[in-house]
């Protein structure tokens, strides 16, 4: 069942999943796990900011758009203001041009429409040049 999916464990990439939906949290966590990427999960933008304030840092952040307390656009903006240079990929079901534009302008490096799959995640890693040869 595992197939020829590359394992990036040796590359020591880390990621943060930011999503308020439990199903998405579980799926995105597993997708990253499958690629050997150690990852943490938080439930909204404020928690994403807090985790960075506590000193944690990640190579990749998968950022949902619609979340309570602090949404993805606000969180992305805030993280960039804090000087966080991690690659941030927006992952959302919203795909209207205006919404995507606003999200990108907040400081995203890449954007993928949900649902996230292994192919889309590999594509994100490729686009963001996080695909390290092992």
């Amino acid at each position: 069942m595992a197939g020829e999916v590359p394992n990036l464990e040796a590359s020591k990439l880390t990621a943060l999943v930011v999503d308020d939906n439990f199903v998405n949290q579980s799926v995105h966590h597993k997708l990253l796990d499958r690629l050997g990427i150690k990852n943490d999960v938080v439930s909204n933008g404020q928690e994403a900011v807090d985790v960075h304030c506590s000193g944690r840092n990640y190579d990749l952040i998968l950022m949902d758009m619609d979340m309570p307390i602090m949404n993805g656009i606000q969180a992305t903006r805030r993280l960039r203001e804090m000087g966080i240079e991690s690659k941030i990929a927006g992952v959302t079901t919203r795909a209207e041009e205006e919404e995507v534009k606003e999200f990108m302008e907040a400081g995203l490096n890449d954007f993928q429409e949900k649902p996230l799959t292994i192919s889309k995640l590999v594509s994100i890693l490729h686009n963001l040049e996080l695909y390290v040869q092992t």
Binding site: A2, E4, F22, V23, T93, S119, H126
Partner: protein, 146 residues
């Protein structure tokens, strides 16, 4: 790099054909490609991953259905609130590949957008029906897969 990506895609495609055949036997259009993607994530470390995700989905969707029912029972339609709930419902349904439920979510949101209360009620009734059928089918599917 490109060769690695091509290898991944080919392998995923081959696996998908096997999984999809089994899935279609039971699910008859209730689930889409995304469910196959989830099945492919299942491995020895997490042999029940898909069933666990399905359990999460039904727990989450039960909560949302209850919230929407309460909002509809109030009589005064807060279309923004209803749309919010349905956006969450659609998100979960998309992630698990629940295609028929997702379609009803989309239709409900359209009715919210134009402020059509009757359309919302009608669609919600259908959505609950599809959701209940999906639940039953998945139970059978997981039982048969053991």
């Amino acid at each position: 790099m490109q060769r690695q990506v091509a290898l991944i895609k080919q392998s995923l495609f081959d696996q998908k054909i096997i999984i999809r055949t089994q899935m279609e036997k039971y699910m008859q259009g209730y689930l889409d490609e995304q469910f196959v993607e989830l099945e492919e994530l299942q491995d020895d470390a997490n042999p029940n991953f898909v069933e666990e995700v399905a359990t999460l989905y039904f727990k989450d969707s039960a909560r949302l259905i209850s919230n929407i029912e309460q909002a509809l029972e109030r009589g005064s339609f807060d279309f923004n609130r209803l749309d919010n709930y349905m956006h969450q419902f659609k998100g979960s349904s998309t992630s698990i590949g629940a295609s028929k439920v997702k379609t009803e979510c989309t239709m409900f949101r359209e009715y919210c957008r134009v402020g059509n209360a009757e359309g919302c009620l009608r669609t919600f009734k259908q959505l609950k029906k599809e959701h209940a059928t999906l639940r039953k089918k998945l139970e059978q599917y997981f039982q048969a897969s053991k």
